[in-house]
């Protein structure tokens, strides 16, 4: 404000002040001045209400058209009743995955507890310990541990008697170590067993557990070969044991919501589904740590090799990085394609494909492994009129996710879920023309646990989170999907019912993975013969 823009200085008029002596005229003028904002407030309210109404109408129109609710997916409680009798749990294979599964069952190794406590003190974003402690108490005891590596067996025993437990349960007596899994299964000390060994052992162990009437939670992939898959299926299917395959996505909220979207037929005819894996770290490519105490004295190498087709002299890489060899697993097929496929099977219920063509190569990790690090598989489902493409590389981190492509819309499923209308959709044509649906943005977004962000500690962990494989949400609270899947298995053991990844789903998973492995190894298209139950 400069002088030439101001009027000559003058004292305030006393009659402008309310309560001061003055005429009706002036005090009314003052009042009008004081209320100068009213037209603005009115304009604001008018526009705000109009905008809300417009937004609501649009949203309602879209949701009505789509026929889905905005709320969380309906997922039956993983645990139907409070756990009654205590289940005695055995663990076969206490490596990275086995230790993680036992932790999600409520028994973290004391070192892990200490590590997380320190880590949380440094970085409050690390909530791993908090999530662990807020897990439901599953009322289990770890009574038996089997591992061919002494160090890991000892870790299992230490975890079984940990005193920092969800629900404040006190320490249990230590688990007994068994060197051979058959002894563990026959001991009479276990009601149920978690199998987290390399894939080449899954079939023999599961079959032996069925013979002893012991319930099984088995890690994916169900088996290493097609023949083993049939053998396991034929043993488990007619038995009374409760079987669960370890695909955590079965408990992911976004995956369950995706099923609602499919049921409501929002996407129109789906002709292409694309599942992908992109990882770019040695760890993500199974170059796992070699324990300093691993040697022929601490590791029972012969027992480890067991049914592996090729017997080789003691080899630390093969023991600690077994996923890199076809003797123990199936590489990308059994490890990561299996997850993508099970996600697709959970959402679309596609079953076993008619045919598969796979290709790939070992292009980056030339460290002596014999499984490919770049791998693609194309599956045909003529009955469903769709193709499922799996595409993976272990040497690039470009996230591509899992996409269901329909004529009317595309659905992307990761930790969250988005549905975007297709600009050439027939069904949404009118709504797109009317401007109700905008094809440049998602018309439907579902974000479980939308409040807050989670700290993720590594690229591999981030990969798992984005796939809904590590955490999911129940009522906005972060819970481990592993925990829910184990909880569901125990609940079925106690109260009956069906596990979400039962032996039928497990068989479909195994055959689908093995079709890709066989197609890749034999360099030809393979098909599934449903009557003879053979890959041909």
């Amino acid at each position: 404000m400069t002088d030439e823009h101001t009027k000559p200085k003058k004292q305030a008029q006393p009659e402008d002040v309310p309560g001061a002596s003055g005429g009706w005229e002036t005090s009314r003028r003052g009042m009008l001045k004081a209320l100068v904002s009213l037209p603005f407030v009115g304009a604001f309210a008018y526009n705000y209400l109009r905008k809300r109404a417009a937004d609501d109408t649009k949203k309602r129109a879209i949701l009505e058209e789509l026929g889905v609710t905005e709320g969380p997916a309906f997922i039956p409680e993983a645990i139907s009743k409070p756990p009654s009798e205590r289940v005695r749990l055995g663990i076969i294979g206490f490596g990275g995955e086995g230790e993680s599964l036992i932790r999600h069952a409520g028994f973290a190794h004391p070192d892990w507890v200490e590590e997380q406590r320190k880590s949380a003190a440094e970085n409050p974003a690390n909530k791993a310990l908090e999530v662990y402690l807020s897990q439901e108490d599953l009322n289990v005891a770890i009574t038996a541990v089997c591992d061919v590596f002494d160090v890991r067996a000892d870790r299992g025993i230490a975890a079984s008697q940990v005193d920092v437990r969800p629900g404040g349960g006190g320490a249990n007596p230590p688990a007994k170590r068994y060197r051979h899994y058959a002894d563990l299964l026959q001991s009479g000390d276990v009601d149920a067993v978690i199998i987290a060994t390399p894939d080449h052992w899954h079939s023999l162990m599961t079959t032996a557990a069925v013979a002893e009437g012991v319930h099984v939670y088995c890690e994916k992939c169900l088996t290493r070969t097609e023949e083993e898959a049939r053998a396991v299926y034929d043993a488990v299917k007619p038995s009374d044991i409760v079987f669960q395959l370890g695909h955590q996505n079965r408990q992911s909220e976004a995956h369950n919501k995706a099923r609602d979207v499919i049921d409501a037929n929002i996407l129109g005819p789906i002709t292409l589904v694309e599942g992908t894996t992109n990882r770019n770290t040695p760890w993500g490519a199974w170059v796992w740590d070699i324990h300093e105490q691993g040697n022929p004295q601490t590791i029972d190498w012969d027992l480890f090799q067991g049914p592996a087709p090729n017997k080789v002299p003691f080899n630390l890489e093969r023991f600690f990085r077994w996923r890199c060899w076809y003797d123990y697993g199936t590489g990308l097929s059994g490890d990561l394609l299996s997850h993508e496929y099970d996600g697709v099977n959970q959402i679309l219920q596609v079953g076993i494909p008619k045919s598969c063509v796979a290709s790939g190569g070992l292009y980056y990790f030339k460290d002596g492994r014999d499984v490919p690090d770049v791998f693609q598989a194309v599956y045909e489902y003529p009955d469903r009129e769709l193709t499922f493409v799996y595409s993976a590389t272990l040497a690039n981190g470009n996230y591509r996710g899992l996409a269901f492509m329909g004529h009317d819309a595309t659905m992307r499923v990761s930790g969250s879920l988005t549905v975007t209308a297709d600009s050439d959709s027939t069904r949404y044509k009118k709504k797109i023309e009317d401007g109700v649906i905008d094809t440049s943005r998602a018309m439907f977004t579902y974000r479980p646990g939308f409040k807050g962000i989670d700290a993720v500690t590594s690229a591999t962990e981030e990969y798992f989170v984005s796939r809904g494989l590590l955490y999911t949400y129940r009522g906005g609270r972060r819970v481990s999907a592993y925990h829910l899947l184990i909880g569901e298995w125990l609940d079925v053991i106690r109260n009956g019912g069906e596990t979400s990844c039962n032996i039928d789903r497990a068989f479909e998973e195994a055959i689908t993975c093995h079709m890709a492995t066989r197609s890749f190894k034999e360099g030809r298209k393979v098909t599934w013969d449903p009557t003879r139950r053979r890959i041909v």
Binding site: M1, T2, D3, H5, T6, K7, P8, K9, K10, Q11, A12, Q13, D16, V17, P18, G30, M31, K33, A34, L35, V36, S37, F40, V41, F44, Y48, R52, N123, P124, A125, R447, F450, K451, G452, I453, A455
Partner: protein
């Protein structure tokens, strides 16, 4: 102006009607903006400041990212922020507790600015609708509030008029303006 600085707003020269009009209009617009920002956040169940805070750069980034990572702190910050915006907006529009609303508004804008300043070398993943170098719209709105603080209008063109403890301060400057 020299006189004004010496003796405070009480002795400010009266504003011309045009000056009054633009000052009041500026107050309405900023109030409108704050009010809608607050309402939009309160009515959107998905809204959270987490993304903005987590992106924080510069000296205070540590504090902001810590808030984003802590659910309790984040809930409080989201709540205070949304209601703060709403109340500041109402205050500015109605001219009620105008001075406090202006100051708190400036504090909020200052926090937004230092959480994610457009300095050379800082890149944010969140898209902006324009191009900014050091000065962005948050800083300009902050400066605009500073103008409102320097040239207050609430006690005449607002409900502050009826606050018993409001004396002649800015009324003195505005009393005869021809609005």
């Amino acid at each position: 102006m020299r006189e004004a600085t010496r003796a405070g707003s009480e002795t400010l020269d009266r504003y011309s009607p045009f000056q009054v009009a633009v000052l009041v209009l500026l107050r309405m617009f900023i109030g409108w903006h704050f009010l809608y920002e607050g309402l939009a956040k309160l009515t959107n169940p998905y809204w959270t400041s987490a993304g903005y805070l987590a992106e924080s750069k510069w000296w205070f980034a540590g504090i902001f990212t810590d808030i984003a990572a802590n659910p309790t702190a984040l809930t409080i910050v989201d709540y205070v922020n949304a209601w703060g915006l709403l109340l500041i907006g109402i205050g500015l529009m109605l001219g009620l507790f105008t001075r406090s609303a202006t100051i708190v508004g400036m504090v909020l804008l200052f926090l937004y600015y230092i959480a994610a300043p457009p300095f050379v070398g800082f890149v944010y993943s969140m898209p902006t609708e324009g191009s900014y170098l050091v000065v962005n719209k948050v800083l300009i709105e902050l400066a605009a509030l500073a103008v409102l603080l320097a040239f207050p209008t609430g006690t005449v063109f607002g409900l502050d008029r009826w606050l018993p403890w409001k004396r002649q301060s800015d009324r003195a400057a505005l009393g005869q303006a021809g609005a």
